[in-house]
Symmetry: C2
Subunit: 407 residues, 2 copies
Amino acid sequence: MTLLEGYIGIDTLTEQIRKKALRQGFEFNVMVVGQSGLGKSTMINTLFQSKVSRRTFNKEDYFCPKTIEIKSISHDIEEKGIRLKLTVTDTPGFGDHINNNNCWTPITKYINEQYETYLNEEISIKRRKRIPDTRVHCCLYFIAPTGHSLRPIDIEAMKRLVKVVNVIPVIAKADSLTLEERDKFKRIIQDELKQNNIEVFPNDQHEDLDDEEAENNKWLRKKLPFAVVGATDSYNVNGKNVLGRKTNFGLIEVENENHCEFSYLRNMIIRTHLQDLKDVTAQVHYEAYRQRRLETIKSDPSKQETNGTVIDMVTPTPSPVGSLRFQKTANASPRSSQATATPANHTPKVSPANNTSKTAPVVANSAPHKAMPNANGQSVQMNAKAKAAMAHSAKNGGSHHLAESKI
Amino acid sequence: MTLLEGYIGIDTLTEQIRKKALRQGFEFNVMVVGQSGLGKSTMINTLFQSKVSRRTFNKEDYFCPKTIEIKSISHDIEEKGIRLKLTVTDTPGFGDHINNNNCWTPITKYINEQYETYLNEEISIKRRKRIPDTRVHCCLYFIAPTGHSLRPIDIEAMKRLVKVVNVIPVIAKADSLTLEERDKFKRIIQDELKQNNIEVFPNDQHEDLDDEEAENNKWLRKKLPFAVVGATDSYNVNGKNVLGRKTNFGLIEVENENHCEFSYLRNMIIRTHLQDLKDVTAQVHYEAYRQRRLETIKSDPSKQETNGTVIDMVTPTPSPVGSLRFQKTANASPRSSQATATPANHTPKVSPANNTSKTAPVVANSAPHKAMPNANGQSVQMNAKAKAAMAHSAKNGGSHHLAESKI
């Protein structure tokens, strides 16, 4: 360490960074996965104290999707001058069918598609100053409060999910369990996760932590999965307004640590680990996807020799429905258009109709496929060779399948 | 904007980021360019209040390099818990010869080489979590205090430099000018920079600034180039120790705004614009290099079809001295080894011998050429096709020449 003979002012650096971060704002993308009726939307609305997620099941607009849909909604929120673009991705239909074989596939596919979009932007020749980040930073997995054990679908789905995204499991609607049942259920789940090598977030191996942080993570891992209760109604308790659920037996205060573990979850996701969730997504999950993708190209020259641009080196393979291929050319990020729609209007509540940015039923295999836009928004035209390579790839199940199959 | 119904805690984000920044530390790379005898080393030592730069011209070890050398020295400094790895790159020999034709070429070549190193790391399949940043963030250009005008070499050199790096011009040894001479000289220089389209730092077109920042930059541009005096000796003035130069006519206090403009320079480089300098380097200069480089490959397929890996797509073209090509295989960043040498020993003053990390005389064209290490530190072997492409490229003057020629 070189000694300084006087004050020079490099301690201003954190303030310089803070100012820039404030000016730019933040992005955070959270996904909820779990059977219907486990209070996923309510939990998100409780976490962010606003109507950021709507219930997909309601009396006026009854529907039970026949396929799994992926729906993303973006909201701009602000607190003490910090602006956050929050995107909530819902997965209605997951686990709700008679046959739930591979019901996690559309979810991992969606997650990988976001990496693919990011990768295409990252490797394009003329790229934007800041790549819009639609990558899923956090996946909240809702476990039904059975008190028995994880269901096979939970184990199989989480096994796949933890390979591509930060998974935080929660025991939903935990007010249905007594404290004894809850603690026993937790221990069983922890054992099952361990037996199946399911590494949920936080996982220390990805980060250089100081002692305090490592200790905190150790404590968190012992408490996982948090047994939570969501509620958006507030009640007056000793002159103070608290969020809670009024039952016949009394008021369950969601932020009261004696009643449930909601506050642990909120503290972790928002107040201590939000930036960690983003960093692990970028440095671990995205990098792993990028590496798999580039190695696939390297090992199969037919996927490399397209039209000779670097962009096409990692072009996403199209879905068989070719006509949809250039549909989204002008909109590289599925949610970037959404982002401008919501904040510009300063609408506290946006109607469901214009708020659902992406609906991708999987059975029809017609997920809108990202074309290959370069930074100018122009679609990169492919030559015959490229098309042949793509046809070859599509025949083999497409790129996402390739990534998926390694999991 | 979606309304929040209670406090959720996203204002903790800046603190989360600050903690991570503190843990990781910062990197800052500054280059000094100017004729010998203008006090470049003294100025750097004054800016950073330490012996981070040594004089290349001294009585014991007299030498006047026949070629322009590029020398980088890294130091770890710390202030109030903020750690900074500071690298100072000196360019002794610049403008010191009878014929100074193209004397800026080794400098722009060095700058581009750092971009090339970074680019190779960025596009490799298995890449490091954090790419060591050896890119030059700031180039201090020293103008001789003639009082007349810029010399042709200043105009020609700065014309090239501003295309690849943030240039901050300073009037060196400004104590030799009266205030009237100084102000007149400044106006002349400002006019000459304008006439020659030399856009020095700060240049607002690269950043989205708020009103206060834009106003501050406007003020700075009016004051540029700062007329500075460096000094590392301190004197007692009214009971306070101040840095100064004792002349026959009195004491020149370097931090006194009535004596010279050193404090403006220090405030800009360290206290208000250090992060800006880094961001503009990454988002403007590096991106421009990357784009030129990838477009060169795109337009000349012989440079693309190497051994089929993405790494080789933008392999640096070797210098004609082929035997040196794999010399630095194990050391992707020319200064990363230096970084571990200095702080580990906790040596406040390091002798010149083990402190000069890179010396690249240009006439001999034997600049140690970066091999193509992947993240494992393994050198990527080239096949015959790749070697042919490289030979082709070297024949045409190499990649840096290509980039350079567009300037």
